[in-house]
Assembly symmetry: C2
Homo-oligomer: 291 residues x 2
Amino acid sequence: MTVLVFLDSAFEQGRVVDASRPQLMATDQGATRGDGVFESLLAVDGGVRKEQAHLARLASSAGALRLEIPDAEAWSRAIRTALTEYAASTPDRPEAVVKLIATRGVEGAGPTAWVAVSPVPAATRRQRETGVAVLLLDRGYDSTVAQRAPWLLLGAKTLSYAVNMAAIRHAKEHGADDVIFTSSDGKVLEGPTSTVLTARHRGGVKTLVTPQLESGILPGTSQGALFKAAAEAGWQLGYGPLEPKDLLEADAVWLISSIRLLTPVTAIDGAAIPTAPELTAELAALVDRFL
Amino acid sequence: MTVLVFLDSAFEQGRVVDASRPQLMATDQGATRGDGVFESLLAVDGGVRKEQAHLARLASSAGALRLEIPDAEAWSRAIRTALTEYAASTPDRPEAVVKLIATRGVEGAGPTAWVAVSPVPAATRRQRETGVAVLLLDRGYDSTVAQRAPWLLLGAKTLSYAVNMAAIRHAKEHGADDVIFTSSDGKVLEGPTSTVLTARHRGGVKTLVTPQLESGILPGTSQGALFKAAAEAGWQLGYGPLEPKDLLEADAVWLISSIRLLTPVTAIDGAAIPTAPELTAELAALVDRFL
């Protein structure tokens, strides 16, 4: 089941509504134009992980869209309300997805904002264990355009995810599970719903590398938290540029995201690649300690 | 006011609902991921224009998204129902916007589809007369990527319009009204909500030119209808590629779309360009006869 809490200035703790009933106007610009922003957080045992990082990114995405959204405190209160409701209704589920959505609302009426809490899909949980086979797909943009074309919203997490969803469908139609986007100039970018990580373990030195933010990818909250934890654990860190050959030559490649967590990539474009179970175990232990 | 009619297999003529109440589930993938397709049609005196062209493009967009939507007859019946309701509630408005939307719906529940009829915004009507100043903005894609990367959905009219809206906001923040997108390889593409047309009138020969479809633009229903009518009226027709210099050297440039119709471009990147009121009048008369 899903719990829904709308942010509403008349309800300080958020307004709990019946998620089994329609709650959105059909003229909301979130629904008619994908004009809004979102975040997906993982809740474990009643608490959400990386709340401040997600709220900061939500605010940054909203800024890119010139969208005025409720402040972080209002979101936090609504999250608390939603998690309390969810725990009461679904006591046997230690994990949940907490989605924050803010849209431009009905024209003239101001933004719409809500928190939705729902179970983690079984398929998502499964992929943490089985890993994913990916296709490399061209995202169509070159890795320098984000800097000069802010209207492309490349660093913002908007509701306009049709291309991300189409890319995943394309992968599934071709026998894979997920996608790593590449730029038109041949750089590794990101997954449709995740950040790319690679690792090398050479001469006793462990190095974690992710594509550079300037290439127009979303700043990964999980990648950010893992880099901090890994550095404290003695890992070296690197920031792209990465090319497809770097993925093939790495000791391991993962997709990391807030809900699916650290997911090993097992094949690229139909060819198996090495995985490193000991590195996965070490990094997954760090991910499990995210707050 | 807005009239809303949902397509619903239990209601052959469509299900009329109260547009002043929430009618969409907050978990509809149209609202959470911009995962759906749409069309905007102009209704004049109770009839919609270019209905079959819009329904054909809606079906084509849905195909690109692997989205099963109701058939054309069901849409037509719902449009009739909505226009009848609208005429009864708003008898003094000869023009209306008829929006068709189909989303992927709530996961596991199948698509959501509806028709919304509302007044043509005053600002839109005004721009038909005043014309628009545009900025040329990089769309980030090169003009050949659409052919090799179908997952980018470049020929589909999806609900993921955040970039289109951001580009128009960017133009307004910089003193313009609208945008003409260019490709990363320097070709003229389209407006965020319109098709680009240019005209030359030399030695008694009138030629109408629009960018070629293969560059990843939306097939314009108004451009298509106007090309047919203009050819019958003796115009020559051409299909790109167009570059920015071609816009500056044309006798006139227009943005054409179903609601705003034929709108003269009066300036590009801050510099006035020639308009050709006699060509505009001639073509607008053809547009006014669209069925």
